[in-house]
């Protein structure tokens, strides 16, 4: 996307919002270019140590073909880079999920749209260097030294990466399961301990805790709750008498007529609609 702001033929181009515009070309001989919007990272609530306020450059509109490495190499001309983080939307960095081996990482995580980047430099001077980069001097993503694989080559590479040797897969499974077993064991241990605490000690005292495993009077899942309610309902229904008193009988008849009326009205509406759409012309 291009900003509707005027282009400055001069040095750097700054648009409202405090963003500087950098041009980006895929390769040296590409005709068209994308525009990157950069700005120092400045969020009041930022607590993450990963994005130090003074040294982080916030980049918008990174095209999908730029991977972390590409971004790193493009921006390293402004100074040494400590880390690069690409996300789909600006915001706080996500909490790290349990570390998965690469064969289990869901493939949808790879973003393919335009992304937002947080580039952390070693020195804070690099941020301003990037911001004052001349507008008419584009950055180039794919150079001869470090070409970005696109299209067929990329897909072939992806395919080959997808082929994981069985041993590696087995190893990943084993290590995860071991960890899992350990975790489970620990949990079981904890639970045993809790239960132990709830038992009477020699003197007949029970330690009362706030723990979640307190009363077990009510069934402990939503479904079980529903089931009991249904059972009670059924019991009540069975005791009821149907069509026993005159008024009950009268009511049933009334209901029947009301039902017919309702249906009649509904049909009338449907017909009116169909008539409006000329649905009754047979040919």
């Amino acid at each position: 996307m291009a900003a509707s702001a005027r282009k400055h033929a001069s040095q750097s181009c700054v648009i409202p919002g405090g963003f500087s515009v950098l041009r980006l070309k895929f390769s040296a001989d590409s005709a068209a270019h994308h525009q990157l919007f950069v700005k120092e990272h400045r969020v009041r609530s930022e607590k993450s140590a990963k994005r130090p306020l003074d040294r982080t450059l916030f980049v918008l509109n990174i095209p999908p073909y730029c991977s972390k490495d590409t971004v790193k190499s493009m921006f390293s001309k402004f100074g040494t880079i400590q880390s690069v983080e690409l996300t789909e939307k600006p915001g706080t960095s996500e909490a790290a999920e349990p570390k998965l081996s690469e064969c289990f990482a869901p493939s949808t995580k790879q973003s393919q749209g335009f992304s937002v980047g947080y580039i952390v430099f070693k020195n804070s001077s690099s941020v301003s260097a990037a911001k004052s980069h001349p507008h008419d001097e584009p950055l180039i993503a794919s150079t001869e030294k470090r070409p970005v694989k696109m299209g067929i080559n990329k897909w072939i590479q992806q395919y080959t990466e997808m082929l994981v040797p069985t041993e590696k897969l087995q190893k990943a499974v084993d290590s995860f399961m071991n960890e899992y077993d350990k975790r489970k064991e620990k949990e079981a241990e904890q639970q045993r301990k809790d239960e132990m605490e709830q038992q009477e000690d020699e003197e007949g005292w029970v330690k009362v805790t706030k723990g979640k495993r307190g009363t077990k009077v009510r069934p402990h899942s939503e479904r079980a709750n529903e089931r009991t309610l249904q059972k009670e309902d059924k019991k009540r229904k069975r005791k009821e008498l149907m069509n026993f008193y005159t008024w009950q009988h009268r009511n049933t008849q009334k209901e029947h007529i009301a039902e017919l009326r309702k249906k009649f009205e509904e049909d009338k509406q449907r017909i009116a609609l169909l008539r409006a759409q000329r649905k009754f012309k047979p040919y």
């Binding site: 996307m1 900003a3 509707s4 073909y65 299209g151 997808m162 897969l169 449907r270 759409q277 040919y283």
Partner: protein, 1086 residues
């Protein structure tokens, strides 16, 4: 009590909200009876109201009646003023100046005198005075009585009367032409009978289209004695007709029943009108009943042409039912219709004719006389006329078949009978499985000679088409035998021609069409087994089949006459009837194969798979399924798995016979090699593992356990059966006999685990989420659907092929991203499960046409499409689904398909199509249907069915052309490249199960599309024919070029798309795949 729905302007039915007071107020007596009637007589009050609306729609308006009356008045006055002419010889036509005689004067010589004289009387007859005339094509019949002095009592013989009648009509025409009060004037003939020409007159000016006046000249009633026209008497002499002297004077002249009938028929219109009026006055619903019956007949193309069951016969039928007390006078129109259909379905007029004559006079022919001369017998009240004289037995069989079908449909509460029976047209091409046309009808002249039909020809006064038709039909019926349920033929339409031209010759008639309703069990048999060689019937069999009949010895020891047709693949076997028909017509009727145009397999080429051998995929599907069965057996037998397998289910279209690109046997190919390797589609198989306490209760852990099982299963398969396997975290690929099966293990509680949630209070809850839904779809619903549809294929052998055609069309029109394969399969399945008003399709062609018709005419907005798989749904459940649909319409997908296992969600159409795409789909489908039907039925059209498989590209903004070497499925494209591409060649079956794995599931185009769709979803839509398309079309979204607010800042800054960069990105993303990017519109100038 009327409360309008909150908003019905947008065309959606909403649930009504009636107040308590309105619902529960005391009913009046009238209301009670109305409700009761609706409840007991009709399925629901809806049907009653629908009928009323339909009748309103077809009834003539007062304006039109006034117009008709005044026009009749004017024409009557004109007719009375016809000037007299001097008496001349009949053969002398010099007194006519402009107009020609509407009669084929063959042979030319006629005796007798003729002169014009004003008519004795002019009166209205037929449907208009009776009140049963309906729209469209309003025709008012006017009977003009020829004065007795013009005729002679001996005119009955040798076409003298019909010729005088035609001359009289020509005289009237000449007079009418002089007046400005009439508009267009044309000749025609009554029901295609050339002996009874009529004059069609329309009012002048803008009213021309609203009605047609038909002028019938008639003799004075009782002018000729009806006893002269006994069906077994002769009234056309052979020596006169042939022009030869009768060689043997002693020989009895052949009977001329058709001729006799048409002359008698001319005497009776007035009497018939009186007879029917009496009934119409007795029975209040008579007119409406006839109107409904006429609509029913018209939808089935039975109401026009020679030998039709027209409106007049319909009223006569009702009169018969009333007079025999089969229906009651106080019945409603709907009941009359139902009862007459029931009567037609259960009575065979070809065996037991019916008569309206209460006490016929002594000279009237007996029923046996009628049956000996006519195939269908329905005698009028005079006892002399057979009303069904021109009808062939086959037409009656067709009427009976339709009536039987309709009665069944009406008894089925799950079908909308009104829509199916009265609102759906049944053209020949969409009704019958195969259709063929006799093109050059002149050839039938030879047939008549060959079949020895001189007397029939004489009887039909030289109309060789009508004379030969019954014989050709019975010949074909004999030949086709058990292969067809029904052999139907189109009714030759009455020609219309200008008054200053001679009547068209018989040979210039439009082609005659025939329809075959196939019997799926027998139709594709290649063997015609006849009687044993020594039985007396053998000669008959040899006579029928001619040189093709051979003596053959069979495995059961019998030596019989037999005919063997050459066909190897299923698609060739389906066309065996074609071979039979062309052979028989050639042999017995000397109709050359070139004038038989058979329409049955024209669409096969689109889904043809074989290079040399023609095949529409049945054989390939079968091979996949056999391999799958083998694999599943082997999986069951594995013993060393820690947990046993509880079910093996296919979850891939190939395993339900509906895959378009069927896996062919292929050899592996190196990756880096150009062009790209052959696409090998993995066939997904779901294996459920037994439940056990050892399964972890955590979704990540479950995934890892499954991966471990994949590895283990792969090892076992390799160890026991030497299959090459490749396990991965999500599946196991097995390379077996040239096919790749992708086995996915499943644990039935996994979706539950995914949904589980512990609330802060420690309560275990189930919360739906997308991941769980997707998993459930994969491991539960897809396998179930696959096995159900596999079952359907076993009952309906062409289900799979229709699916493949339908999906090929959807993809070719670039809709495959919008309508999922499962949804398409379900749409096709509904055609087979609920074919009303048709029968289940037995050929791919008719199935495909009906698919297009369904897609284009179904009311997606207001009704759910219920696909009753395995017949699991009862009528009550249907209603429940419908009610549920109406009450929650707003939140449901635009295209709603319900199945027994999916009643509330329509899971296969949840995501797509969108409203706009559905609308476009409907539009393209109706256009395709129109083009295709015209092509199949009309010789003059361009003959290339692929036209409907080529999408219009002019609506798209950008075209991305692909390099065809990199399109792996290019060999399935609609227009395949002429040069065969080197794509990894097929070197026959792979013998040993081992060896290296090929490249599996590598399709650069789909990867490219996915990237495009993800990265550019906000600005454009991408369309592609997934089966080998060479171009990706791009449509900018309407809102794409509106400036968007720059999201990150609060300030009032807008951004607009950078189109040049976007177009360049298309190239960059698809490097090596994209040939060029062609922008076609300039809508982005911002």
């Amino acid at each position: 009590m009327s409360k309008r729905a909150p908003s019905s302007e947008d065309g959606v039915v909403r649930p009504l909200e009636l107040s308590r007071g309105e619902l529960y107020k005391a009913p009046t007596l009238e209301e009670l009876s109305r409700l009761k009637e609706a409840e007991s007589l009709f399925h629901c009050s809806l049907l009653k109201m629908q009928m009323e609306e339909l009748l309103k729609e077809v009834a003539l308006s007062e304006r039109r009646k006034r117009l008709a009356d005044s026009f009749v008045q004017r024409v009557t006055e004109l007719l009375h003023a016809v000037p007299e002419t001097p008496v001349t010889e009949v053969s002398d036509l010099s007194w006519l100046s402009v107009v020609r005689v509407p009669f084929l004067l063959v042979p030319n010589t006629t005796k007798g005198k003729f002169h014009m004289k004003p008519p004795a009387s002019v009166s209205l007859v037929g449907s208009y005075p009776l009140g049963t005339c309906i729209k469209p094509h309003v025709s008012v019949d006017l009977m003009v009585t020829i004065p007795a002095s013009v005729l002679h009592p001996m005119d009955a013989i040798n076409q003298r009367y019909p010729r005088k009648r035609a001359l009289y009509l020509a005289g009237l025409t000449e007079h009418l032409l002089t007046s400005p009060a009439v508009g267009k004037v044309q000749y025609s003939c009554l029901h295609g009978n050339r002996l009874r020409p009529i004059l069609l007159v329309t009012p002048p000016g803008k009213d021309a289209g609203s009605l047609t006046l038909r002028i019938h000249p008639c003799p004075p009633p009782d002018f000729l004695k009806p006893s002269r026209f006994h069906p077994q008497k002769n009234n056309v002499r052979t020596d006169w007709f042939t022009g030869l002297e009768a060689s043997q004077p002693g020989v009895k002249e052949p009977a001329t029943p058709q001729y006799n009938c048409s002359v008698v028929g001319d005497h009776l219109p007035q009497a018939h009108l009186q007879y029917l009026t009496a009934f119409s006055e007795q029975c209040p619903a008579f007119k409406d009943g006839v109107a409904l019956l006429k609509v029913w007949l018209r939808q089935r193309e039975l109401d026009q042409g020679t030998g039709c069951f027209g409106g007049f016969l319909a009223s006569m039928l009702l009169a018969h039912l009333l007079s025999t007390h089969k229906v009651n006078r106080s019945m409603t129109a709907y009941q009359l219709l139902r009862n007459s259909l029931h009567f037609l379905a259960s009575t065979d007029l070809t065996e037991n004719g019916i008569t309206l004559a209460r006490n016929p006079d002594s000279k009237a022919p007996s029923m046996a006389d009628f049956h000996s001369m006519f195939p269908v017998v329905f005698v009028d009240h005079s006892g002399h006329l057979n009303l069904c004289a021109e009808m062939t037995a086959f037409t009656y069989k067709r009427i009976q078949h339709e009536a039987l079908l309709s009665v069944k449909v009406w008894d089925d509460p799950t079908v909308d009978g009104f829509q199916a029976l009265l609102m759906t047209p049944k053209p020949l091409i969409r009704t019958y499985d195969h259709v063929f046309q006799l093109c050059e009808l002149g050839k039938l002249q030879l047939s008549c000679k060959k079949l020895g039909l001189m007397s029939e020809l004489m009887d039909h006064s030289g109309n060789y088409v009508l004379a030969a038709l019954p014989f050709i039909l019975s010949l074909l019926q004999r030949g086709l035998g058990q292969r067809v349920q029904l052999l139907a033929h189109s009714l030759p339409l009455s020609p219309e021609w200008p008054v200053d031209q001679d009547p068209p010759k018989h040979m210039n008639q439009p082609p005659l069409s025939f329809g075959l309703l196939l019997q799926p069990e027998h139709a594709t048999s290649v063997l015609e087994r006849g009687p044993p060689a020594d039985s007396p019937k053998a000669a008959e069999f040899r006579e029928l089949w001619g040189p093709l009949s051979e003596l053959r010895r069979f495995q059961d020891g019998g030596i019989t006459e037999a005919v063997l047709w050459s066909a190897t693949s299923t698609c060739q076997k389906r066309l065996v009837p074609q071979q039979i028909i062309t052979h028989l017509l050639q042999l017995h009727a000397s109709v050359p194969a070139s004038s038989v145009r058979y329409v049955g397999g024209q669409l096969d080429s689109v889904i043809n798979l074989g290079q040399e051998l023609c095949s529409t995929g049945e054989e390939e599907s079968l091979r996949v399924i056999q391999n799958y069965d083998d694999l599943s057996r082997k999986l069951w037998q594995l013993e060393d798995l820690p947990l046993s397998i509880t079910s093996v289910q296919g979850a891939h279209p190939a395993l339900r016979y509906t895959q378009v690109t069927l896996p062919k046997k292929k050899k592996k190919k190196n990756m880096e090699d150009k062009p790209c390797p052959v696409y090998i589609c993995p066939i997904k198989v779901i294996c459920h593992l037994e439940g056990s306490g050892k399964w972890p209760h955590d979704h990540l852990a479950i995934r890892h356990v499954k991966a471990a099982f994949h590895i283990r299963l792969g090892e076992l398969l390799h160890a026991e059966h030497r299959y090459t396997c490749r396990p991965s975290a999500t599946h196991l690929d097995v390379w077996k006999d040239g096919l790749v099966f992708r086995i996915e293990l499943a644990y039935h509680r996994e979706p539950l685990v995914l949904r589980e949630l512990i609330s802060p209070e420690g309560l275990q809850q189930q919360r739906d989420n997308a991941e769980a839904r997707a998993l459930e779809l994969e491991i539960q619903h897809k396998p179930l659907l696959t096995s159900t549809l596999h079952g359907l294929q076993q009952q309906q052998p062409c289900f799979g092929t229709v699916c493949r055609l339908a999906k090929r069309w959807l993809a070719a029109q670039l809709f495959s991203a919008d309508l999922s394969e499962e949804a398409a399969d379900l749409l096709v399945a509904s055609l087979f499960l609920q074919p009303a008003p048709f029968t289940s399709p037995c050929s791919p062609q008719v199935g495909f046409l009906r698919f297009l018709h369904l897609l284009s005419t179904f009311d997606w907005k207001n009704s759910p499409l219920v696909v009753n798989l395995n017949n699991q749904l009862s009528a009550a459940e249907y209603t429940e689904i419908k009610n549920n649909f109406v009450s929650t319409r707003q939140s449901l997908p635009v295209m709603f398909i319900a199945t027994p296992t999916d009643r509330k969600l329509s899971m296969w159409t949840q995501e797509s199509p969108s409203v706009q795409m559905l609308q476009r789909m409907v539009m393209v489908a109706s256009e395709s249907l129109r083009v295709l039907e015209a092509q199949l039925m009309d010789l003059k059209q361009l003959q290339d069915v692929r036209v409907v498989f080529r999408p219009p590209l002019d609506v798209y903004d950008v075209l991305i052309h692909l390099k065809i070497q990199q399109v792996p499925l290019v060999s399935y494209a609609v227009d395949r490249p002429k040069k065969f591409l080197r794509q990894g060649t097929n070197r026959g079956p792979v013998a040993d199960p081992g060896g290296f794995l090929p490249v599996i599931d590598y399709n650069p185009v789909s990867k490219y599309l996915k990237e495009l769709r993800v990265s550019r979803a906000y600005i454009a839509l991408f369309f592609y024919d997934v089966y080998g398309g060479k171009v990706i079309t791009v449509l900018w979204k309407p809102q794409a070029f509106e400036p968007q607010p720059f999201k990150v800042t609060d300030e009032n800054v807008c951004t607009v798309p950078n189109v040049d960069a976007i177009l360049q990105d298309f190239c960059i993303l698809g490097e090596g795949l994209v040939q060029n990017v062609e922008p076609r519109t300039k809508t982005w100038t911002v």
